[in-house]
Symmetry: D2
Subunit: 350 residues, 4 copies
């Protein structure tokens, strides 16, 4: 059960609700959000009769939620959430957002070349890692602060908003100074401390599905962010751990319609990590759009064969240009459009 307080509820109203919940034998969990506070109940609340709470001062609504996740569910909020990361760049509406760029920021020349190329092809956001989680401590871990500065430069040069990953609490604050959207990687999907931190920071979050996470796990991780008062969450399918070495992962595109039925949050797909093989990226990007994804995250590198990470799955700029053309056609076939690069119009980008 969740008790949603009115936006004008006072602290005393919230306290009274907490007392009422305690009187029922449960522990109240006040969850202050930007707009309003909700009060949750810890424990198996299936049999609780909370109808009298609905009539208390400052209470907007009492919700019995049948899923383990609450605020992210469509039961809680039937309408799609629209997450806006820059003027004209929004997830969850009719337009698809294409985020493209290299796995890692490697140098000023590399990131500017990549940013200009993906913008020219029609991407509406730039992806690129300054902090890289790598399986090996000896692998290239990203340029760190320098990488963030280069991303900020690329934004100034191209107008593209920035999507980049944060790996820990301290890093999240640093990343938040530059990023328009903070990415939480698959390995950190259940790093609850980090989820709470980006929840508190309040900037848009791109939350990638862990490599053996169920949809319920993914939505519960998103719930951690919303529980801190940050509703600006976009989910991302990026492939599951699989048994077939023909691909790097099993790209579970069915997650897209499953999430869209269960939650009001937008969901995008990452065919680069989802497949791990360059030649498989275009068909699977098309498939993701056809399945209803709200956007695509794709690795593009000016010179993939010299990339310091993920070269084998990065597209050449000209391949990305071709892919953008295909994605516009598929989007059109299902009654959607690919968002234009910021500051342009769809006609120009098309």
């Amino acid at each position: 059960m969740l008790v949603v307080m009115r936006t004008d509820a006072t602290a005393a109203n919230v306290d009274a609700v907490c007392d009422a919940i305690r009187a029922l034998g449960f522990t109240p969990v006040p969850m202050p959000g930007e707009q309003r506070t909700a009060v949750g109940l810890i424990g198996n609340d299936g049999q609780v009769d909370g109808s009298h709470i609905g009539g208390m001062a400052g209470v907007a609504q009492v919700i019995n939620v049948t899923k383990p996740y609450k605020q992210v569910s469509r039961e809680w909020k039937p309408d799609n959430t629209i997450v806006t990361i820059a003027p004209g760049v929004s997830f969850g509406g009719g337009e698809l957002v294409v985020m493209a760029g290299p796995c890692s920021v490697e140098s000023e020349v590399q990131i500017l070349t990549a940013a200009r190329a993906v913008r020219a092809a029609g991407a509406s956001a730039l992806r690129g890692g300054a902090y890289k989680p790598r399986s090996s401590p000896y692998a290239f871990q990203g340029l760190g602060t320098k990488g963030l500065q280069l991303l900020a430069l690329a934004r100034r040069e191209t107008g593209l908003p920035i999507v980049t990953e944060a790996m820990d609490d301290a890093g999240a604050h640093e990343v938040a100074e530059v990023a328009d959207m903070i990415q939480i990687g698959a390995r950190n999907m259940q790093n609850y401390s980090l989820l709470r931190t980006v929840g508190k920071i309040g900037k848009p979050v791109l939350l990638k599905r862990g490599m053996s996470a169920t949809i319920t796990d993914l939505l519960l991780s998103a719930e951690y962010i919303l529980a801190e008062g940050n509703p600006h969450v976009v989910l991302c399918e990026r492939g599951l751990r699989g048994f077939d070495t023909a691909t790097h992962n099993i790209f579970d595109l069915t997650a897209i319609p499953v999430v869209q039925r269960a939650s009001h949050l937008p969901i995008v797909a990452d065919p680069s990590h989802g497949t791990g093989v360059r030649a498989l990226v275009p068909p699977m990007a098309r498939a993701a759009v056809a399945a209803g994804a709200d956007g695509i995250l794709v690795e593009v590198h000016p010179t993939p064969e010299r990339a310091r990470s993920d070269g084998a799955q990065s597209l050449y700029p000209e391949q990305f240009t071709d892919l953008m053309r295909e994605l516009r056609t598929i989007a059109d076939a299902i009654g959607r459009t690919v968002a234009p690069a910021p500051g342009t119009t769809a006609a120009v980008a098309g």
Copy 2:
């Protein structure tokens, strides 16, 4: 190594090649096909120098194949195989074949209603099980012979070719009398005896991927059929065993471009078994087409809520009609077309 004999090679030519292989210390495996015979080598043939065999009488070609599968590989045959199951109904070319119908044949009324509905919506083949592999011995196992007769009736009434499953050697011969395409189900993908049998029968085969089969496993199973001289094999992705109960399976659409790079055989997708949930079938059917599938196998039932099997994943006829419209648009977006129902023209069906 495979030695491909010329179509005019004599039995003596083949014998001579076998002797030459024995002289190299290997066991020859003659594989007579409809058109020509190939002779394979058993064992680790990586270091064999078979160049002199290329010059022997009746030899067309000596092929060093780097994959564990041979005849199904693109190395062996670079051009797409076209599998035709009825006049105008071909897999592997520009047209997509939509096969639709109920999981099981249940009655004359049911199968005729279903057949007419899917034909009206534009399907070009009728699927329906007379023999059903069921996890429980106490579940409905299909109408058997009676079901095959009803399928034959439905073909006479609608002109739709029939795709139906065979479960064992004896059944394969019976099914072959009615079916235009014999389906081998996921559970029997490595029933090598059955694979050899349908290889010998020679009719087109729809081979479904096992629920934890790698692409290599799938292609090796197809190789069993080709090794018996039957090249008319269409592969089918139908979902992998997964850990998330939100769907029945993990629908691995990446298998489509992976197979198309590795093999010349057509590949279709089954979004009904791939997802197990009716509402997920249309988006995932669209995704399969966008990923490049050569066709779709989809369950449609006149009254899914009363179906004796797979009701929860069967589309209502009107949903299927809507889906066909969407598939035509997606196919168009990637430069393909959905095959019209046999005996009609695309313009009429569209």
Copy 3:
């Protein structure tokens, strides 16, 4: 619901029960067994009140079974089933049965050497394949009939009962003439036609778990055999399809206590296929015994480095001798004993 008939029930009694079931609106499924007939109900029988059937002539018992599997469940039969394949060689009691031998029968010398070696070390049954299911049609498929003859010879020479695989309906009848226990391999676990055939043959069956089968799937496959009147079924855990190439499979030893709680059938483990790596076989064989396995199936080859199949996972005879010593100690620690080779006594074998 299952209606168990008395052993002296007449055909008329069974017919009357079938009529009573039809009167309830269900389809009766008579399941004649060796000893007695049971009549099952098809369909969702949860709400049926069948109490009046319990009073009909010839009816021993009416059972409401809560699991999808029926006759294999502990609800149906609380006591352990004991499966005896030769005098003194029984599964499911206090003694553990060790079945050992090569993957494939390759020659008279090979199989006799192997049989003598495993008998000397204390095995109580000989395993060896005459018909081998291989992923590739070009791999060694076993010696077939000749292999069966050599197994019969090995039994005459050593007294060890024979466990060997059948791959199809015709083969099952041939195998049954020689085998003391017919093995159904993992790839055929859901080959229902084959399951019915070995159910009808009536000889003991070793049913291996499929590589992505749930325990419920496995028990339902066993149910197919019992439904034909053959209760002599031993289950076998042999590893699941996994994502880590460090081992060939994920060896799911927890299946042992899970099966023992759910079913009265014995269960053994195959650490050779379960791991795929020779050095991992001894620790995992020990673990299987400690987990409560009713026996072990292990590959031993006189010269593994020259084996025609599974050489990398086959033990050397001296390793097997050491392993037998360890297994006796572990068995002793949990209050069980390793069965002696037939015709010897435990003291001699120890």
Copy 4:
């Protein structure tokens, strides 16, 4: 390639080695440890000839490591690492360490009752969570600081060393003040920031395998800790994400011998999380010991039916006492012993 510096190497020696590596065209990565510094090479170092570096001042050794992990490998250090968490409580030698206690610290009475019970039964360490990673933000998250104080109290009362989890960088420092061994949970196995932090803290670490981590992934995560100069790492198998709902996870005991061949680090098993079902814990704990585990981590609660987390998989104290007796017998059968509770002797504990 790793260049291991002598313990008396100067900063100038390290700089010179770094220069030499740069001269080869690679980037040097100095890794200062507590005792000595190592210098790694970034990049594909397969073809580098670093023999001249071996002769430089301050260099102890130049190692060519063939695995992606380096310092954790047996190639790097052939002898078992012994990790000691309290006097007489060591992992990796002949004695097995049993760590037992509740999932969460819930109250003073609960943790003291649990601690005394597991000590009386013979456990040699107390486990219990003060900070709990929970899938839902609304589930009980542990008592935090208060929980750590209660664990410290339990240690004073029973003499048992404490194993408890840290979830983030700040928490790791707080946990380190109380814990004798810091646990990193499965969800944080690839939280590289946290791994580095516990590497720097230097206390013994219990690193649990992620639920879809390969053995290589697990060892690479351990490498992060060793790369910070902390060699006191014990690995833990706790079950993989599986498809069968009969158990909570697939308990991959083969990981034990696989790790022991690849690495010198100790490895223990957690049959409570590995199975998720109380009745399955004793057989699988026995199996883990038989497979060669260096210890067992097991959940024991005074009143599991009232536990705030993991009640269904927690043993009753009397069950744990029985289990300890069985584990001693199995350990004895393979030539090992179960470590006695600290301050007792094996004879008394036995």
